[in-house]
C-alpha cells in the first residue's frame, strides 16, 4: 500500500505523532493508501513556512515571466505523469478513469493558462480621475495578498488543487492547501511534481487533515491573509465567521441546485443527452450539475421516454475500466445520503422513472444507479436540496416565464443551461437566470478563461479568468500629484488661510 506524507516548507514529512489515516477505494471499499494526517500544529508549521516564503523569500519579488516559467514546469510535470496520477485519483475518489484522465490534461492546460496570464496581469496601470480639485496622475498597483489558506472538496481533487494553486501562484502568493480527507493523494502527487520545479520552498504546502483542525487553523491564524474554500454552503458560512476575526479576504465556491431548461424548439436528441451529461457526469458529484430539468408540459412524455432510453445503456461499474460510464460515489456515507434522498422523493410523491437503488450486479463499492425522478414539484426536497449524487429531477412547466421563475426559486445560483434551436431566444432566458454560469446547448463546459462562481448562497467571488486571478491580489491606488508648488495646493487656503 503506498504511503503519502504531507508537504511543508519544501519537505515531505510525517504528521505530528506519526498519525496516519487510510484512504479508502470507493470501488472496493478497501484501504488503498496510507496518508499522514496533519494536526493543528502541523498546519501551524505549514502556515509559518508560507509566511516566511512570502515575507522573506524570493517568490513575491520574482518577475511575472519567471513565475510563468515555474507554472509551466508544474504543467509539464503533470502532463508527464498524467496517466499515473489519473489512476491514483480513480483509486482515491471513484471517478471513472475516463474522467480522471481528462482532469489531468485539463489541469495541465489550466496551469498553462495561469502561466500565460502571469505576465499579462494589470499589475500597474494608469487610471483616469477627475482633475479637480487637483491635477494628478493616478495608478493602480495590484500585488499578491500574502499567505492563502485553500480548502478543497473530494469531487475533482486534482483540478480543484490546480484551480486554487494556479491563480494564487500566478499573482505571487504563497499558500497552504488542504485537500479533502477522502481524496488527498492526487494533491500530494502534485506536491511531488512541484517539489521538482524551481518553485522556492515554502511557497506551496499541502496538509491532509480535518476541517475542524487544519481548516479552522487556516481560517483563524493571524498569519493567513486569505481563505478560499470550495465546499458546502454551511461550511462556507462557518469559514466566513471564523475568518471574520482577522478580517481575511474570503472567496467561497459553494453548493448549487442548478436549473436546466429545455425549450420547446430544442433539438431533443442533443438536449436529452446533454441533460444526462449535465446531471450524471461524475455520478452527479459536481457543484454545478444540472439536477433540476425543466421540460415543456407538452413535450414531457416524449422527453422522459428519451431520457429513460438513453440512461439504460449507461454502464455502472469498475471506474478503472474505460468502458464504465459511472463509477461509485465517494463513500458509504454519501451513498446512504443519496439513497435517503431517493426515499424522501418517493415519500413526497415523486415517481422513479429509472434507477433508484444500488446496482444489483455490484456487491461491493459505493454505487448508486443513475436515477430519474418524474412528477417532481419544485418545492419538493429532492428539487431544493443538493443531493450530490446521480439523481435527476424532471419538472414540468407551462410557460417560459414559469420555468424561469422556478429556476430562480432556489437558495443557490451556480450553473444552469438552456436548450433551444433559437440561440437568441435561449439567450433571453439565460439573461433572466440568477446564476453564475449559463450554458446554451451545452453543460459543464467551464472555461479557465471565463469567471466561474455563485450568485446567492452559492458563493462569493469568482475562480478562473482575469477576475479569478485578481481575487488573489490587493489593489493599491497611487496618486502622484502634479501641483508642484505649495501655495497652489487645493488645501492651502482651507488650512493655512489666504
Amino acid at each position: 500500500m503506498p504511503d503519502y506524507q504531507i508537504y511543508i516548507d519544501g519537505q515531505f514529512c510525517d504528521a505530528e505523532g506519526g498519525k496516519t489515516a487510510d484512504s479508502i477505494n470507493p470501488a472496493t471499499e478497501e484501504p488503498w493508501a496510507r496518508v499522514a494526517r496533519a494536526s493543528r500544529k502541523d498546519t501551524q508549521r505549514a502556515i509559518a513556512a508560507a509566511r516566511r516564503a512570502f515575507d522573506d523569500g524570493p517568490w513575491p519579488r520574482m518577475s511575472q515571466a519567471d513565475r510563468a516559467k515555474i507554472l509551466n514546469q508544474i504543467a509539464d510535470g503533470l502532463e508527464a505523469r498524467s496517466q499515473e496520477i489519473a489512476a491514483v485519483e480513480t483509486h482515491d475518489s471513484g471517478g471513472t478513469i475516463r474522467k480522471t484522465s481528462g482532469d489531468m490534461m485539463m489541469g495541465a492546460a489550466q496551469l498553462r493558462y495561469f502561466a500565460e496570464m502571469a505576465p499579462k496581469l494589470p499589475l500597474w496601470e494608469e487610471i483616469q480621475v477627475p482633475q479637480f480639485p487637483a491635477q494628478s496622475k493616478n495608478y493602480l498597483q495590484r500585488e499578491p495578498i500574502g499567505v492563502c489558506g485553500q480548502i478543497i472538496p473530494w469531487n475533482f481533487p486534482l483540478m480543484m488543487a490546480v484551480w486554487k494553486i494556479g491563480p494564487a501562484l500566478s499573482a505571487g502568493n504563497t499558500l497552504v492547501l488542504k485537500p479533502a480527507s477522502d481524496t488527498p493523494c492526487s494533491a500530494l502527487e502534485l506536491a511531488k511534481i512541484i517539489d521538482q520545479t524551481d518553485l522556492p520552498k515554502g511557497v506551496v504546502n499541502v496538509v491532509h487533515g480535518s476541517g475542524a483542525e487544519c481548516g479552522e487553523e487556516l481560517c483563524t491564524s493571524p498569519l493567513v491573509d486569505k481563505v478560499a474554500l470550495t465546499g458546502s454552503t454551511e461550511v462556507g458560512r462557518r469559514v466566513q465567521q471564523l475568518a471574520s476575526g482577522t478580517i481575511k479576504k474570503v472567496t467561497l465556491e459553494l453548493g448549487g441546485k442548478s436549473a436546466n431548461i429545455i425549450l420547446d424548439d430544442a433539438d431533443l436528441e442533443m438536449a436529452v443527452d446533454g441533460s444526462l451529461f449535465g446531471c450524471f457526469f461524475h455520478q452527479g458529484q459536481a457543484c454545478e450539475s444540472g439536477t433540476r430539468l425543466f421540460v415543456p408540459d407538452k413535450l414531457h412524455d416524449e422527453i422522459v421516454g428519451r431520457l429513460v432510453e438513453r440512461t439504460k445503456p449507461l454502464t455502472v461499474g469498475d471506474p478503472m475500466d474505460f468502458a464504465s460510464c459511472q463509477g461509485p460515489l465517494i463513500s458509504a456515507r454519501q451513498r446512504e445520503t443519496v439513497l435517503g434522498y431517493i426515499k424522501k422523493g418517493v415519500d413526497e410523491g415523486a415517481k422513479v422513472a429509472i434507477g433508484g437503488k444500488r446496482p444489483e450486479h455490484l456487491s461491493k463499492g459505493y454505487y448508486v444507479e443513475p436515477t430519474i425522478f418524474v412528477d417532481v414539484k419544485n418545492s419538493m426536497t429532492v428539487a431544493q436540496e443538493e443531493i450530490f449524487g446521480p439523481v435527476l429531477c424532471v419538472i414540468r412547466y407551462k410557460t417560459i416565464d414559469d420555468a424561469i421563475r422556478m429556476a430562480n426559486d432556489s437558495i443557490y445560483g451556480l450553473g444552469g443551461a438552456v436548450w433551444s434551436r433559437d440561440k437568441e431566444k435561449a439567450t433571453v432566458v439565460a439573461k433572466q437566470m440568477r446564476t453564475g454560469t449559463v450554458w446554451i446547448n451545452e453543460y459543464h463546459l467551464l472555461s479557465v478563461a471565463a469567471p466561474f462562481g455563485g450568485y446567492k448562497q452559492s458563493g462569493i467571488g469568482r475562480e478562473f479568468g482575469l477576475e479569478g486571478i485578481l481575487e488573489y491580489t490587493e489593489v493599491k491606488h497611487v496618486h502622484v500629484d502634479q501641483v508642484d508648488n505649495r501655495a497652489g495646493k487645493f488645501w492651502y487656503g482651507a488650512l493655512f488661510g489666504a
Partner: protein, 105 residues
C-alpha cells in the same frame, strides 16, 4: 421539524462540551453539496436571523434556517454519532474521532 438524538449522540455532545469548558455550542445543518444535511456542532457561532431553534441535544440548542425547516416540515429528525477517523467538516466532534449524522425517525 422536530429533533431527537440517540444516546450515542448525547454522549458525544457531552464529550465535546467536557473538552471545551466555557464554550457555547450550537447545532446547525448543512444545506446540501458535499455534506448533505449533516449536522454541525459549532462553538462561538453567530446565528443568523433566519435560523430558529428547533430543539436541543445534550443541552445544546439545535438551529435550522427557514430553508431546512421548510424541507423537513413535520418530520422528526434524529441526530446520531458515528466513529469516523476521516471526517472532514469543521464540526467540533471531528477531532475526537466522531461525526454527527442525520437520520429520519
Amino acid at each position: 421539524m422536530r429533533v431527537g438524538a440517540t444516546p450515542q449522540a448525547e454522549a458525544v455532545v457531552a464529550q465535546v462540551r467536557a473538552a471545551h469548558p466555557g464554550d457555547d455550542f450550537v447545532f446547525v445543518f448543512g444545506s446540501g453539496c458535499c455534506e448533505g444535511t449533516a449536522p454541525h456542532l459549532f462553538a462561538r457561532y453567530t446565528l443568523t436571523p433566519v435560523q430558529e431553534e428547533v430543539g436541543a441535544v445534550g443541552g445544546v440548542g439545535v438551529f435550522a434556517d427557514a430553508h431546512v425547516r421548510r424541507l423537513y416540515g413535520d418530520r422528526t429528525i434524529v441526530i446520531d454519532a458515528e466513529e469516523d477517523p476521516l471526517a472532514d467538516g469543521f464540526s467540533a466532534e471531528i477531532p475526537l474521532g466522531w461525526r454527527f449524522v442525520l437520520r429520519l425517525a
